[in-house]
Symmetry: C2
Subunit: 199 residues, 2 copies
DNA sequence: GTCTATAGAGCGATAGAC
DNA sequence: GTCTATCGCTCTATAGAC
């Protein structure tokens, strides 16, 4: 996913994959080094310590997901279509970057306080973008929700779940899965969902 | 949560709490021992190794949640009310046992193959109980879902998310939160949700 | 920038006295 | 069943040659 084959990027890519599979505490610097074909000490020429690799992986994901999901949101759309736009690009991003999403959810607790503060703030921004869509829809009377904050979190955890089970090699195509989650997410806040045009 | 204050139960309780906070790989036998006021070697009088503690914690959760959520399901009810019954008891259980739910989702990858096989089977049974409710509702024409299997997983991950943020000390009461998730879950499969009687 | 070598600490697990 | 003591191993991180 990272562009450029510098050693630093190779280390980040290897760490992302290993962290997603075994967890931050389940991966050693030796394993990361071996994955990029280098010797253990060499990693410290590119990152000051193990924690910095985790922070780097998480921050890269946050900026990429912001660019892919939050930035394109069109404020001129009505709440239902804005929500649909959000959910569709969010699920697409989750499927295409499942390792990152898995890490974002699982390894918050592995962050030391300094890194955690910045990353938690970016996560809050992401959550509040969805929450404001839900609030608009509630005020406009097109959503049926009793608490926008809780419904925002419930939608996000629902959509994060796709990374746990979806595999490109499985029976469903990404497009099928995206459409299914769009339906579930829109319906969960009481928005009307209409089947997309036949493909 | 475990009844009886035998040393074995105290070890299991301490491990559950520590595993939920720092992850299986982030907790040492020494920390568990210190939490129960014993010395490290003493744990091995009650469990053969660290992995056995994790398996024990997970299995206890599976049997308790089965008893609390799956066993009471009333097959005579129509799909909508059966789903509502499932979701309500499931969310209640998740809130009251958030450490267990967190561990069940996060530490599957920390299980060695032997323990994983049995626990994955019980999880599949749990998921298929929900899936069969969804299929019944789909066949009866009362749910709007394009794939019962995906919607079942999406409901379960939505409901598991409550453990990430809900705290008893927060602004919402458990009853409020349960009701909100019941609404979101029922609406997500296109079932009609009517506000519960005023309390 | 990459290597070898290793320091220093913490890990799971065991042995044996009581 | 609990203690003390310790083995053998792996970990993160550093030092210094090339």
């Amino acid at each position: 996913m990272t562009t450029g084959h510098t050693t630093k990027n190779l280390i980040r890519d290897a760490a992302r994959s290993l962290f997603a599979e075994h967890g931050y505490n389940g991966v050693s610097m030796r394993e990361i080094a071996q994955d990029v074909g280098k010797h253990p000490g060499g990693i410290y020429n590119h990152f000051p310590n193990k924690q910095a690799i985790l922070v780097d992986v998480m921050q890269e994901n946050l900026s990429r997901s912001h660019e892919a999901v939050i930035a394109p949101l069109n404020d001129d759309l009505d709440p239902s279509h804005r929500l649909e736009q959000f959910v569709r690009s969010h699920v697409r991003y989750n499927i295409a970057n499942s390792d990152d999403i898995f890490i974002a959810y699982m390894e918050l607790r592995s962050l030391e306080p300094d890194g955690a503060a910045h990353i938690l703030k970016e996560r809050k921004d992401y959550e509040s973008a969805l929450r404001s869509i839900l609030r608009d829809g509630q005020n406009a009377g097109v959503f049926k929700i009793s608490d926008p904050a809780i419904h925002a979190r419930s939608v996000l955890s629902m959509l994060a779940g796709v990374t746990v089970w979806f595999r490109q090699s499985g029976p469903q195509t990404p497009t099928d899965v995206v459409e299914c989650y769009v339906q579930a997410a829109l319906q969960s806040v009481g928005a009307t969902y209409s089947t997309p045009p036949e493909r």
